[in-house]
């Protein structure tokens, strides 16, 4: 089969050039977080990693990520040893910036490799589509904004996730896929939201016989169970011996945080909060009682604790139950038709459910939905129809992460470039569906995309001119409510596609 141009490597080179040019750009506190972790892992013995609290940015990722930081710190001491001192808070010499930014670009090669695996695993006519989808992930504005400006290592993490998803495509590599996912969980526990899909898929295809669900393949169960146990043991074993597991768990799962994050992630709770605010105004007409305590909270919606004035409060238990419920629904289908496509669909649905109903969801978590979805968005036009509002909403919702004027043109122009290019390319590539399309859904998505233009204009320019510094929550609220409608809409659309195909 002839080569498809451009190759992933060619795109990666051009993208890397832009990313290096972005070195002096704004960096969030996450930059300092990761510098601090380099310092912790480099200068303290293993046993103190999860107890160290000189900086407020304590180590709150699982052990494999700490090991990953430790490996990088071995190189870091060649670049600038000063960044590895624990008390050197907020240290950002140019060597430190160059080093940390470079590590993001270099570790992202994992993603490039995984995407190449994905393209190679596709056959025939869908190979072109796979290449387009792979390039869209590689050039994703989400990764550019979060990793290369805001600062994090998602490129590497999602690379491992995609590699694991691709390995699940062949029967012979199913075990490897599961083990790789287990290792990923020990790097960043946010991926445990996707674990139910893995559990069901591996259970059905690897641990049970393909012919009958009542015949258990014991050898496979043993291999998978033993492998996962070994990986978890490598990660947590040393800490378990010292009895540090409770301490690690308290770091990994800080339940003291509020329902909504500092900015509202565009999920159902954002819509819920928006309705609550609207009801405060309408309450007298409707004869509803307004809780006075919630009205006093000046920081409402901006900082952690969210108190609702009219609507009932939400507890972590409700979030958990709703997440689990909406994860379980697609898993039933996966159990009975365990194809790779429905596995990816189920992973996407798990991402959706956790993003939409989760407790203290960060808007960065939208990648958990977008990236798995990208792998199957080009399956046919109905999938693409559900993907489009998600692509717009998910990326627009990341805009508040960067609020400095110098980065404004980068984030908007890059995102618009990506949306125009890939929505156009996807539109050319997605084959027609064998089933009829839904009534009005395409109209909704076109209308939705159009609305984004005045919205971005309002939030970035008009609001500042009209209100200046006051009512700062308004643009944030509009952005997250708008994005929430898009994410929920695409979720509903995808659910219909998923169950009807």
């Amino acid at each position: 089969m002839a080569e498809i141009y451009p190759s992933l490597a060619q795109c990666a080179v051009v993208a890397a050039a832009l990313k290096i040019l972005l070195f002096p750009a704004y960096k969030s506190t996450d930059f300092e977080v990761h510098r601090n972790w380099l310092a912790i892992t480099h200068s303290l013995p293993l046993w103190d990693w999860y107890y160290e609290k000189t900086s407020e940015w304590t180590l709150d990722y699982p052990p494999f990520f700490a090991y990953f930081e430790w490996i990088m710190s071995q190189v870091a001491q060649l670049a600038d040893p000063a960044m590895l001192r624990l008390y050197n808070l907020e240290y950002d010499s140019w060597q430190t910036v160059y080093f940390q930014r470079f590590t993001v670009i270099i570790t992202e090669l994992v993603l490039v490799y995984a995407l190449q695996m994905f393209v190679d695993s596709s056959r025939g006519a869908s190979k072109r589509a796979a290449q387009a989808a792979a390039i869209s992930i590689l050039l994703s504005p989400g990764l550019l904004i979060i990793d290369h400006i805001h600062f994090q290592y998602n490129g590497c993490m999602y690379g491992i996730l995609i590699a694991s998803l691709v390995l699940a495509r062949k029967r012979s590599t199913l075990l490897l896929s599961g083990l790789l996912f287990a290792a990923l969980l020990c790097m960043k526990h946010i991926y445990s939201y996707l674990a139910p899909a893995y559990f069901v898929f591996l259970l059905r295809t690897y641990c049970l016989s393909p012919k009958s669900i009542f015949r258990i393949q014991f050898l496979n169960c043993l291999k998978l169970g033993g492998g996962v146990a070994a990986i978890l043991g490598t990660a947590f074993g040393p800490f378990a011996l010292k009895g540090q597991i409770p301490q690690i768990l308290s770091r990994l799962f800080p339940f003291s945080r509020g329902l909504c994050h500092a900015y509202w992630a565009p999920n159902v709770w954002a819509i819920y909060s928006f309705m609550d605010r609207a009801l405060i105004v309408l309450a007298p007409q409707l004869g509803l009682s307004v809780k006075a305590g919630a009205l006093q909270s000046v920081t409402r919606g901006l900082v952690g604790d969210t108190a609702f004035a009219v609507l009932p409060d939400i507890t972590p238990r409700i979030c958990f139950a709703l997440t689990l419920l909406f994860q379980a629904i697609p898993l039933v289908k996966l159990f009975f038709s365990p194809t790779w496509d429905s596995f990816i669909g189920a992973v996407t649905m798990c991402g959706y459910a956790s993003f939409l109903f989760g407790w203290h969801v960060h808007e960065k978590a939208i990648l958990l939905v977008i990236i798995p979805f990208s792998l199957i968005a080009l399956k046919d036009r109905r999938y693409l129809g559900a993907f489009r509002p998600l692509a717009v909403a998910g990326h627009v919702s990341l805009f508040p992460l960067l609020f400095t004027p110098a980065e404004f043109p980068i984030k908007t122009i890059y995102t618009i470039f990506w949306l125009v290019l890939f929505l156009m390319v996807f539109d050319h590539l997605a084959p027609a569906s064998s089933r009829p399309r839904f009534f009005l859904f395409d109209r909704f998505s076109t209308l939705y995309i159009t609305v984004s233009i005045p919205l971005i204009l309002y939030c970035s320019l008009i609001h500042g001119i009209v209100f200046g510094k006051s009512y700062e929550f308004l643009p944030l609220m509009f952005t997250s409510s708008y994005s929430a409608i898009g994410v929920v809409g695409s979720w509903v659309g995808f659910m219909v596609v998923y169950f009807s195909s």
Binding site: P6, L21, P24, A132, I413, I416, V425, H428
Partner: protein
């Protein structure tokens, strides 16, 4: 950067025009390159999916967005003179002119405190500064407050200044490039997709991005106006061509590098194939009128200031000072006449714009004089002799290409003739700055959009000139810690076009003679090796104590030699393509050099 291509939709593009309505003065029928099966270099690969089915109107916005992204991202780095007192740098000069033009009456612009970045560009720059300054003052008046704003390093001001460069470029240079590439590629029979590849290559040219968007200046405004002038020539609109060229001259006197070519082309067009007196007078009249309009605001403003009792030089308390240039003019003019302040103003402007009093060259420039100075100390000769020598040498270098252009005023020769002339000026003229290398690079890079523009030979030479040009500006960029954007932008461009140091694919072509092939490889190879070695040495070794400028001097020598080759290549190719030489010569003589 796009995904793969076959589409279920029908292509929206209009059927391609076959043949060229305007190709009357093409030497031969356009030679379509055979449809290649694989891309020849990475930039082609990236635009590969857009072949055939994608219309230009889908590609153009995407290309412009990417070009803008790289420009803005490069602008995040430092600028010349960032936090470098006492004088700061080009950035401060441009900011200071916004301060001067918005805060002072127009008659004082060219006289105000000349020691601190006195205005020394022609009036259009002053008007442009005024406009930018007015807009900036709405956002934050303190940016351009008289005196107190000097040397400001406000980060928001930086964003505003970067914004003015990008907006000016997108209003002038970029439309000019897009239109030029469209016209020139159609004229040369180049398919639309190939023209788009050339467009990206021209827009991503590292030298202009580094100087304008990183180091800080507004060269692209001037270059854009020159390009608009050339585009008008391609379209046969000679009057517009002269208007745009006067605009370019009025923005930056450096546009004079092209003036001879503009003059000879327009003159040639008026005389050949038959004399067209109306056109000749039309061009002359429009040029004069454009100059008048250019000076009009300055003149009216001066008269208005005089009527209000505002003096151009308030410090002198009304004392008459002889004119800065041509003081004998005062003998013929009535110094009390109403128009005298205007004369004074114009003379002062010309005096500021053309600093004859300065030396043969400033700093270290990769031109002939500076390289010669290494061997012969030129400073010991009287400056008049040097000026005359420079004038003679410049004329000797620029007359041949312009004579060709005069006798063969053909559209497809324009970029080559402009490039050869500008190289001549850059190498031999007086008072050259290292940034002036942008002027010959611009028309030479335009060759990419012409007939066989992306062929290996043209790509190799255009790429060589650009890489060498960026390399000679390295000392300038390195002084303000801009190594990283320098490395990224030049290597990216080299990668996209398949040039050394990233690839050797631009060499080793089939079809040309063995000598021609290996000659180019050998010459370019030596230069690329020298550049690479120089970077290694400059980075790792300190120059010996008695020769502190050693690295810069080597840079200048290598640069001047390479630029001379570029000049000869442009001139040789111009001679071949104009078919001015007898056929029998071309077969043997210059073909070895040019093909």
């Amino acid at each position: 950067m796009a995904g793969p291509s076959p589409s279920p939709h029908k292509p929206r593009r209009k059927p391609k025009r076959t043949g060229n309505g305007t190709s009357s003065n093409l030497p031969s029928a356009p030679t379509r390159e055979p449809h290649a099966r694989t891309p020849a270099f990475p930039l082609e690969a990236i635009l590969w999916p857009a072949r055939g089915s994608v219309s230009q109107w889908e590609m153009l916005p995407l290309i412009l967005m990417v070009a803008g992204l790289f420009r803005w991202a490069a602008g995040l780095w430092g600028y010349s003179g960032f936090e470098k007192p006492p004088l700061f740098g080009d950035y401060e000069a441009q900011r200071h002119w916004m301060e001067v033009t918005t805060q002072l009456p127009i008659s004082q612009w060219y006289f105000h405190d000349l020691q601190w970045w006195g205005l020394d560009y022609p009036p259009l720059t002053a008007y442009h500064s005024w406009l930018c300054g007015k807009i900036g003052s709405i956002i934050n008046p303190s940016w351009f407050a008289l005196y107190s704003s000097r040397g400001s390093s406000d980060p928001i001001l930086k964003i505003f200044m970067r914004g003015t460069v990008v907006v000016s470029e997108y209003l002038i240079y970029i439309p000019a490039v897009v239109i030029f590439v469209r016209r020139f590629s159609r004229l040369s029979g180049v398919p639309t997709w190939t023209a788009s590849v050339a467009l990206v290559a021209i827009l991503m040219q590292p030298a202009t991005i580094l100087i304008d968007h990183v180091h800080f200046q507004y060269n692209t405004v001037m270059l854009g106006l020159v390009l608009a002038s050339i585009s008008s020539m391609l379209a046969g609109r000679y009057l517009w061509s002269s208007v745009f060229f006067v605009g370019a001259l009025g923005f930056k006197q450096m546009a004079l590098y092209y003036a001879i070519s503009v003059f000879f082309y327009l003159l040639g067009k008026c005389l050949f194939p038959r004399t067209n007196i109306t056109r000749l007078f039309g061009v002359a009249a429009v040029t004069a009128a454009s100059f008048a309009i250019l000076l009009l605001p300055l003149a009216i403003g001066t008269l208005y200031d005089v009527s209000r009792g505002i003096e151009a030089r308030p410090g002198l308390k009304g004392a008459r000072v002889p004119l800065a240039l041509f003081p004998e003019l005062a003998n013929y003019l009535d110094t009390d006449a109403f128009y005298y302040p205007v004369v004074e103003q114009v003379v002062q402007m010309v005096h500021r714009v053309f600093p004859f009093a300065r030396g043969l060259f400033e700093d270290k420039v990769a031109n002939f004089w500076c390289a010669l100075n290494v061997v012969f100390k030129l400073k010991k000769y009287p400056s008049e002799l040097l000026q005359q020598g420079a004038l003679l040498a410049t004329l000797a270098a620029t007359v041949p290409p312009n004579l060709i252009l005069f006798f063969r005023p053909r559209k497809h020769l324009l970029p080559l003739a402009f490039a050869a002339t500008a190289w001549g000026f850059f190498l031999f003229s007086y008072q050259v700055h290292e940034k002036s290398v942008l002027l010959p690079l611009m028309p030479m890079t335009l060759l990419l959009s012409g007939n066989k523009g992306l062929s290996k030979n043209t790509r190799a030479w255009v790429g060589f000139a650009n890489m060498l040009g960026c390399w000679t500006m390295y000392p300038l960029l390195q002084r303000v810690d801009l190594r990283m954007p320098y490395a990224v932008l030049t290597l990216l461009w080299a990668y996209l076009l398949g040039l050394p140091p990233t690839s050797l694919s631009a060499y080793f072509q089939s079809g040309s003679s063995l000598w021609a092939r290996w000659g180019t490889v050998f010459i370019h190879g030596c230069f690329y090796l020298a550049m690479g070695l120089w970077h290694v040495l400059e980075n790792s070794l300190k120059p010996p104590l008695d020769k502190p400028d050693l690295w810069v001097v080597i840079n200048v020598g290598v640069g001047a030699a390479g630029f001379s080759l570029c000049y000869l290549w442009c001139l040789g190719r111009l001679a071949v393509e104009s078919e001015i030489l007898p056929k029998s010569w071309i077969g043997k003589g210059s073909k070895a050099k040019t093909q």
